[in-house]
């Protein structure tokens, strides 16, 4: 279990399972996906992740992440 190959974690992002390196932060996830931080909002296990903490909040195995943005609506 200590092997380097075992250090990845699995999280759910917008309903899709995703493998990430252990220690990935919210900022790291957004960057890996290719999203601008200022255009989205992030929820982790039903809790809002404040934008100011994106660089420090590390994801844990099994986290359910929602990444949303504004779209056209009435």
């Amino acid at each position: 279990m200590e092997a380097a190959t075992e250090t990845g974690i699995s999280v759910t992002v917008n309903g899709e399972e995703r493998r990430l390196p252990a220690g990935t932060t919210v900022a790291g996830l957004l960057s890996a996906i290719g999203l601008a931080e200022r255009k989205v909002a992030v929820e982790r296990n039903l809790e809002i992740v404040p934008r100011s903490t994106y660089a420090t909040v590390q994801l844990a195995a099994g986290d359910a992440i929602e990444i949303v943005h504004f779209i056209g609506g009435g």
Binding site: N14, K39, E43, E66, H69, F70, G72, G74
Partner: protein, 266 residues
């Protein structure tokens, strides 16, 4: 008297924010983001409604609404479209607040098709939850003066009864109750939903409403940008007509030209 100066002095206020345009427009149902941007600009609106949805992870570089309708220029009014419970509404708007940094929101909890009529029991519950979470709530509601008054007393900052079902384009089908809701309200009243064309928007304003909220009437017009211009003028015309005070109605004629001084034979 300079009429244009008077129009400039006319504004409405919600949650401490002043708006000169009395037209609030939705950003949905357009063919493209370019068309959305052009139509909204042509409408002269200062406030726009927006929805909150998951980012498409398979196309993260896709253009976003914010790039075309900048929140620095327009006041975004995030909605709860698609939410059927208070919990979903609160969850959605908390995300909107984090994405946008503001707390002025549009609450709408809808019943089932074919009318998508406001579900008032669920709306009351969601309004209470949002108000407790320090949101400033503009609320879509039934054209029911009792429900409207209760929402106002709960602390909602604007009351938004439907003119007709969403996207129906049927106009203001119950002007009697829209007028009644406005007459008793101490917060802004907006007709939201049902507007089909310019005369509907003008009519809503002639009833004394503070503003009109519409989306499909522009987005589904054959020429959305042109209809946006029409709506801009309609809302101004309706507001001015309301302020001017219309003449009375009568079943008999009252000649416009004097009868004195007519030329006569002989």
């Amino acid at each position: 008297m300079d009429g244009s100066a008077n129009i400039q002095d006319d504004f409405w206020e919600v949650a401490g924010r002043r708006f000169r345009s009395r037209l609030v427009v939705g950003t949905g149902r357009y063919k493209s983001l370019e068309e959305t941007a052009a139509s909204i600009e042509a409408s002269g609106a200062e406030m726009v409604t927006v929805a909150v949805r998951r980012v498409n992870l398979s196309d993260p570089g896709a253009p976003m609404l914010q790039d075309f309708v900048p929140p620095t220029r327009y006041t975004y009014l995030p909605n709860t479209a698609g939410c059927h419970t208070a919990q979903e509404a609160v969850r959605t708007l908390r995300l909107a607040r984090e994405a946008g940094g503001w707390n002025l929101v549009k609450l709408e909890v809808l019943g089932p098709p074919p009318f998508l009529y406001p579900d008032m029991a669920a709306t009351f519950e969601a309004a209470a939850a949002l108000l407790a979470d320090n949101f400033e709530v503009m609320v879509y509601c039934a054209d029911d003066p009792v429900a409207a008054k209760r929402l106002e007393e709960m602390g909602c900052v604007a009351i938004m009864p439907l003119g007709a079902p969403i996207g129906s384009g049927m106009g203001v089908v119950n002007p009697y109750m829209i007028r009644a809701i406005k007459a008793q309200a101490k917060v802004p009243v907006l007709v939201d939903a049902g507007i089909g064309t310019a005369s509907d928007a003008a009519f809503a304003m002639e009833l004394g409403c503070d503003a009109v909220l519409l989306n499909s009437a522009i987005a589904h017009a054959q020429d959305p940008v042109r209809m946006a211009v029409a709506m801009k003028h309609a809302v101004i015309a309706g507001r001015e007509a309301f302020l001017a005070g219309r003449m009375g109605r009568d079943y008999k004629a009252d000649a416009s030209s004097p009868m004195d001084g007519l030329i006569r034979r002989g």
